[in-house]
Symmetry: C2
Subunit: 249 residues, 2 copies
């Protein structure tokens, strides 16, 4: 009987609150707010050069976000969905009223002392950055639209991390303070986007199996963010440790 | 005039020997024979557990090789080419006469003390391994067939590394000696495959620009191998350093 009950519970659709709680639990375990590279950053223990390496590498991630969102846009058959999702492309690429997230990230990189042209060209970024970010494109291309949308749900967690980061960057690296427009804008954009996406996932996951696939997509996205910081830490800080969930010796 | 001469030399098609020399130079700079993880391995300084982590993670690479080759096969419009290339799928997946490279790698993993089923399932592999290997699939899918073929040319360098590795594994880790069939087979397979591929690249790169794209594909493939060892080193050894060609601080 116990087995039967387990099976039933495995098949039962999660309520909105349960789904949201499970998504939040993924963030608690795997989101990169816990990564030692960020901990060092928030303690003021990174050098200007280490922040340059971060800004340079993460630019590749930033530059691929609107491409990622355009792939999702291209897969949406519902005009309502596309009208909602295209906001993200505009947020990053800009319009007449706003310079957009990519340019704002370039300003941050410039505030670290990098040349914007060098950052835009991507010279010297870690191959591991490219591989991790390209995996994000693989996921939104090759999995279901539901999973592609769910993979954006790290935005559920980003507001808290960004608030903390802005405070700590201003405190420990005051020379960076002029470059924080990117984070300022994300403080409102990310929660709006997460709100839409979490509702989309709840409404479009029709079985428990689909809900589990959505949760897994968020786990995989967290791994993509985490691996980018691992690569930075390994290349520019030290020493090493395995990421969450990996083989341990 | 000097500029003119430079431009002319940039446009001039490389001879077979020049092309081969440039490909070899890529290997000298970037192939993973120089990676500190391999150096430790060859000095007998890895533990059984570290060799387990290596065998487990590299199994993911091995398991994707015939898929990578099947993608290349699917892109070849010439039956002659496909007849030559399909050998690679058979080498890894096996046939009536041979168990194939994937099963041989499982035997190696088993010799380290891992359960073959765990290895096959991929539980606990580093996300960075998956991202790097998946990038290899991206390359053979999205670039020209010429570049896809050229990305296999790390086989130009693998015989020397495998010979050395077999000697060192037997010397330092004698308990692994029963698991070396994979490497034994590659000693003859890899040079045959490299011979075919380097000729293919020479004959099908019709401009200097195409030759440069082929050389770049090999560079990118080397980065894929290197990043896999970085991830292992960072997770299971220490401390860190940036890979060749990356931003330095």
């Amino acid at each position: 009987m116990a087995v039967r009950t387990l099976e039933e519970s495995a098949e039962r659709l999660l309520s909105f609150d349960e789904l949201r709680a499970q998504l939040r639990a993924v963030g608690e375990e795997r989101y990169h707010h816990k990564h030692p590279f960020h901990l060092l950053m928030h303690e003021g223990r990174l050098s200007r050069e280490q922040l340059q390496a971060w800004a340079l590498n993460r630019y590749y991630y930033q530059s691929m976000i609107p491409i990622k969102d355009a792939i999702i846009l291209s897969r949406g058959t519902d005009p309502e969905f596309r009208r909602a999702w295209r906001k993200r492309v505009i947020d990053h690429d800009g319009d007449a009223a706003s310079e957009g997230g990519i340019k704002r990230w370039l300003k941050l990189a410039e505030a670290t002392g990098l040349e914007p042209d060098q950052v835009r060209a991507g010279t010297g970024i870690l191959p591991a950055t490219r591989f991790a970010v390209n995996e994000y494109l693989n996921i939104v291309r090759s999995r279901s639209l539901l999973e592609a949308v769910a993979s954006s749900l790290t935005e559920l967690f980003s507001r808290d991390l960004i608030s903390l980061r802005m405070e700590k960057l201003r405190q420990h690296y005051p020379w960076l303070s002029g470059g924080l427009d990117y984070f300022e804008a994300r403080l409102t954009q990310a929660p709006e986007d997460a709100h839409y996406a979490v509702n989309y996932v709840y409404e479009n996951a029709k079985t428990r199996g689909q809900q589990e696939l959505a949760i897994q997509a968020l786990r995989d996205k967290c791994d993509i963010l985490w691996a980018q910081l691992d690569a930075l830490y390994f290349a520019y800080v030290q020493p090493g440790w395995p990421p969450p969930g990996a083989f341990r010796i």
